[in-house]
Amino acid sequence: MLTKRIIACLDVRAGRVVKGIQFVDIVDAGDPAELAHRHAAAGADEIVLLDITATHEGRGTLLDTVKRTAANLFVPFTVGGGIRSAEEAAAVFDAGADKVSINSAAIARPELIGEIGSSFGAQAVIVAIDARRVKGASDPVGEAEVYVSGGRKPTGRRVVEWAREAEQRGAGEILLTSMDCDGTRDGFDCELTRRVSEAVQIPVIASGGAGNARHFAEVFKAGKADAALAASIFHFGITDSRALKAEVAAAGVPMRLPC
């Protein structure tokens, strides 16, 4: 049976994990390669590394980090943050990434989705969408808007329509982050996730708002998510993917449980 995926996300700045998933015994920033391997060993289904500085000067450091993290990592590995061209994507693939996640650059130039896909396959292109509900609208979810530049700039584009266009242009998956829920630990935006998931054929990864295992079970069931991103949740009582997945499985969601 196809299982739902729990994806461990590492936010990286200047070669160090600055927040996101950390084990309770690690109080400060960690080494991305070390953390990625520990998450894979604990049963994370995939690893996402997001470069949150994503500056021009930082690219060399990022590629080195990707290379070190990808070494001997035998689960799918996605890299995102500041990838603006097919050439930049190619460099990240060369360093060992299996997929890239693109966000602002895809909104600015949607052809980029197909350009990366034509060389590396659609499965290697994740389009990340930062979404915010439109308060006071007749359909706040249906009219939810896409934001770029780390959530700072509204684009005037509707989330569901952009997800559909991204799919048509050859995206392999959608990474949907609810800006309303992000950081709240009150649960994912299941309604928004469901709308996007029903609008596209490709898998949808839910992100933003995870606080406990029940939230994951909800977004897989009610939200129809195919995967969910676990970022800061491990700060708050759940020690690792193994514990999280056991709880989500107990709630009736098919999970790959590590031996």
Binding site: L2, T3, D45, F74, G96, D98, A122, R256, C259
Partner: protein, 203 residues
């Protein structure tokens, strides 16, 4: 020497990395029929469109692969590499496959059992009906999870070494003598995938 055939269908880094991690000393990424002829083992990776396999015909690798298969060289196709071992795929009807195995690859149906079926099939799914005589899957327990990402799949036949269920059963692994293939990505399937690659290296 292990020849990993590069036919410009996606990223070979992960496959090569996994083979080296498992101790393979002499891994050569190549498009040369001569390398394939000399190789002790041949790996044909590949993600993306079946159309890309046209390059195998253009590079004269079809004939070389047939010769290698006939003389007993262990051959492993991965993902589209498995699909190429069949007669063809509806993804690119004008491009024939090697036709080593009978049947053609077809897209997942849009509906299955009255429910909408998402495509591509992405994620970790379990191996079932593992053939006890499979050398490639030796030591792999039924129900072990492997990582998939694909929209076309090969039919189940007598050569099928394991199945996976998604929109019905499809061929997860195929094996007849020295010619083998896996639809999943062993290089991305954690311990189970490494076991499969190790089995292949030890043939």
């Amino acid at each position: 020497m292990i020849a990993v055939i590069d036919y410009k269908a996606g990223n070979l880094t992960s496959v090569v990395k996994a083979l080296r991690y498992l101790g393979a000393q002499d891994v050569v990424v190549t498009q040369s029929p001569e390398d394939v002829r000399r190789a002790d083992k041949v790996v044909l990776p590949g993600v993306g469109h079946f159309q890309a396999t046209q390059l195998l015909h253009d590079l004269c690798l079809t004939k070389t692969t047939r010769e290698a298969a006939a003389k007993g060289t262990p051959f492993l196709g991965i993902c589209v590499g498995l699909q190429w071992l069949y007669e063809g795929s509806t993804e690119a009807p004008e491009t024939p496959g090697l036709a080593h195995f009978a049947g053609a690859c077809e897209r997942f149906p849009a509906m299955f059992d009255g429910d909408e079926l998402k495509s591509p099939h992405v994620g970790w799914n379990s191996l079932e009906d593992i053939r006890p005589d499979s050398r490639l899957l030796a030591g792999v327990a039924p129900g072990s999870f492997v990582y998939y990402t694909h929209s076309w799949r090969a039919p189940v036949s007598a050569d099928t070494a394991a199945t996976t269920n998604y929109g019905g059963a499809f061929t997860a692994a195929v094996e007849r003598g020295n010619v083998m293939g896996v639809q999943f990505h062993p290089e991305k399937s954690a311990e189970t995938g490494l076991r499969v690659l190790k089995n292949f290296l030890e043939l």
